[in-house]
């Protein structure tokens, strides 16, 4: 094995880790807003992602059958649509369920689990029990090879770029916009925020909906990597929660850091052992670290 081959393997391994990092971060971002900022345990998070994925599938089927011209460009619109569909549904669910349960966090967990079961069955009944995957535009297929023996998949790069954009957007929105100011005020001290004229109820609803919308984007991005089925959302849920908890619930930067750490740990240990054992090792490490340091990597400085 020559040096350049070693380098190639190292590069590809590093890229696999980065790609997993992007996936985990995208999953965790919506939850970091809903769970980290609002404290709502949204067990239906995975299903909101599935909705985003199905939106892509819908757009791809429609454009393939009726507007063949758009096959190359539907993806961008579909991602935007995925955000808004998940947003609208999140808005509705907050109005119907969550707003009654802010005082009882453990009950939100059960209620949203019920929501996720209902949504799964809806997918199964109205869309079909089989896994589907959309027809991707040509520019998302294939791989990019800067030189001999080094292949970097384009869909992985796409997910990374999207993650970068979404994370940047969320960070800017949270720290520079009016909405972000209101959210942070509400998180820090609800009563006080209320008394200085922030409509905390409206803030809550908007925040929840935006979190769901980001989950929709995440689901849309994942269609480039794998297929979508009615229960694929439930595969992500524990990972997503661990990413957020591990990073320190109220800290968005913590979420980024923990997604990075978990992804690297997972992809490096996958190099040495089977996938399932790598998963066990990663999860076990996270749980043990959380036992030692329950507040997560980056604890918020807010007193509760």
């Amino acid at each position: 094995m020559s040096v350049s081959e070693m380098l190639n393997i190292g590069m590809m391994q590093g890229f696999a880790g980065l790609s997993l990092f992007a996936v985990l971060l995208l999953m965790g971002l919506g939850l970091a807003i809903i769970f980290g900022q609002m404290g709502v345990i949204n067990m239906a998070h995975g299903e909101f992602m599935t909705i985003g994925a199905y939106t892509i599938f819908l757009f791809s089927t429609v454009s393939e059958n009726y507007f063949p011209k758009f096959v190359q460009s539907y993806f961008i619109f579909a991602i935007v649509a995925a955000f808004f569909i998940a947003f609208a549904l999140g808005w509705f669910i907050e109005w119907a369920l969550i707003r009654h349960l802010y005082k009882r966090p453990l009950d939100t967990l059960l209620a949203t689990w019920g929501v996720s079961l209902g949504m799964q069955q809806c997918f199964r009944t109205f869309i079909g029990p089989k896994e589907v995957s959309p027809t991707l535009p040509d520019w998302l297929m294939g791989s990019w090879s800067p030189h001999e023996g080094l292949d970097i998949p384009i869909n992985g790069m796409f997910v990374m770029v999207l993650t970068l954009v979404v994370t940047g957007g969320v960070l800017i929105a949270l720290y520079k916009s009016r909405w972000g100011l209101r959210v942070r005020a509400t998180v820090a001290n609800r009563t006080m925020a209320n008394s200085i004229g922030i409509n905390t109820k409206k803030t809550d609803r908007l925040t929840y909906a935006i979190g769901c919308g980001i989950a929709g984007i995440a689901g849309a991005a994942f269609t480039t990597i794998g297929s979508t089925g009615p229960t694929s959302g439930s595969l992500y849920i524990v990972d997503a929660f661990l990413v957020v908890t591990f990073g320190g619930a109220a800290s968005l930067l913590g979420t980024v850091a923990s997604a990075f750490g978990i992804a690297q740990m997972q992809s490096i240990s996958e190099f040495f052992m089977t996938g399932s054992m790598a998963k066990v090792l990663t999860l076990l490490t996270i749980v043990i670290i959380l036992m030692m340091r329950p507040q997560g990597l980056f604890a918020s400085k807010i007193r509760r």
């Binding site: 345990i41 929501v115 199964r124 054992m277």
Partner: protein, 413 residues
């Protein structure tokens, strides 16, 4: 007779005795062995449900990993029975006789170390109780000592459920993988698949379940139960009063884990196999809904909730498989939004007052002239506000409902 009645009333054992009669007399008489075996299987989930009443309802600690403890108890039993089923004579066609068949399929040539203790029944039975309790202790001690509670604890237990499932499925050679441990036939030479064995196992399950309920009931009535409740509602006050809050929580969680382990072992005995599908996230959270439907504060209610949800599951997934998940979803949402105390809550807030009112009015119209005291007692029952103690009973907890029941007894005496 009156004395026994009073004793039962004082200890709040009415519901317990009705449940005991239902399980030990009515069900065996009314059902054939197939159905009864099914009920026996459901009752093993009842162990988990009453454990959850103790740690979630009373202790305020929601665990989403009860399936792990159920599975550990079940696997401990299954490992013993599997070793007995795979003696060297029956497994002589294997390349290594005397080890379980799935090990042979996975090119394992010697019994792994951690399987060795399960060759002996006493050790296996000990493991049924000790292994889940120990794991629960390790998880909860580390967490509660650092004052992690509520939501975070729930998420960690869920992660533990995922870890254990992935581990069991991944280590096919040592655990049987997805298929689990199957073909369990005998326990110390006693065939567990015959009808008579199924009857015996059913009654053993019922006996153990009733015993566990009584134990938990006793804990609830003791000072420990009061402390658990106090801790759930105002943790800091209990801590400032000088109690070690963490250890009480650890105790509640370990108790729940131990009960779940016993349930798992009984499950294995009755059903004849154990697999990873009872360990994961979904079964664990379903077990929470059993307790929630029955009422998270009521031990007896939790058993009814378990039976009801499982009957519903069996019936609907046979006849309308599409409908079941919707119903389950509705159950989760409905229990949280409308009936936070489940069936038991509906019973105490709606059925019982209605029943008492009804009994009281029947008593009024149909009673012989029997003296002012009795009439007063029935009035008290009807109005449900008078807190006087009617003659013949000495209720300990001064509650309107007890006064009402006393009134009825005063009538019949």
């Amino acid at each position: 007779m009156q004395k026994i009645k009073t004793w039962i009333d004082q200890r709040g054992l009415n519901g317990f005795i009705i449940l005991a009669i239902l399980l030990a007399v009515v069900f065996p008489l009314a059902m054939d062995i197939f159905r009864l075996n099914l009920v026996g299987k459901y009752l093993t989930y009842g162990f988990v449900a009453i454990g959850l009443v103790m740690c979630w309802g009373y202790g305020g600690v929601l665990s989403l990993g009860q399936g792990v403890f159920f599975g550990l108890g079940g696997y401990a039993m299954a490992m013993f029975m599997k070793l007995e089923a795979s003696d060297p004579i029956t497994t002589k066609i294997q390349s290594t006789p005397g080890i379980p068949d799935f090990m042979d399929w996975n090119q394992i040539t010697a019994l792994p170390m951690f399987w060795k203790p399960f060759q002996h029944l006493p050790l296996a039975l000990l493991a049924v109780i000790v292994v889940p309790t120990l794991l629960a202790f390790i998880i909860s001690f580390a967490m509660f000592k650092r004052r992690v509670g509520g939501v975070y604890f729930a998420i960690i237990t869920q992660a533990v459920a995922l870890i254990v499932t992935v581990l069991i499925i991944g280590q096919q050679g040592y655990t049987g993988g997805v298929n689990g441990i199957t073909d369990l036939k005998t326990m110390l030479g006693w065939d567990t698949r015959t009808n008579s064995a199924k009857y015996i196992l059913y009654f053993v399950t019922v006996g153990l379940l009733l015993g566990s309920i009584y134990l938990c009931h006793w804990i609830q009535k003791s000072k420990l139960g009061t402390l658990l409740l106090a801790m759930r509602d105002k943790e800091d006050r209990v801590r400032f009063s000088g109690y070690d809050v963490a250890m009480f929580k650890v105790f509640a969680f370990c108790l729940a884990a131990m009960l779940a382990g016993i349930g798992g072992a009984m499950f294995t005995l009755q059903v004849g196999f154990m697999s990873a599908s009872f360990v994961g996230i979904v079964p664990s959270i379903e077990m929470v809904i059993f307790a929630a439907v029955g009422g998270r504060m009521s031990l007896v209610g939790a058993v009814y909730g378990t039976l009801l949800v499982n009957f519903g599951k069996t019936y609907f997934s046979e006849s309308f498989p599409d409908l079941w998940l919707f119903l389950m979803a509705g159950l989760f949402i409905g229990v949280v939004m409308a009936f936070p105390d489940g069936l038991a809550g509906v019973y105490t807030s709606h059925v019982k007052p209605w029943f008492i009112k009804r009994m009281a009015s029947v008593g009024k119209t149909g009673s012989k002239p029997g003296g002012t005291a009795k009439a007063a007692a029935s009035d008290a029952a009807a109005e449900m506000t008078v807190l006087e103690t009617p003659p013949g009973t000495t209720p300990r907890n001064v509650m309107p409902i007890n006064t009402g029941l006393g009134g009825i007894q005063g009538q019949s005496a």
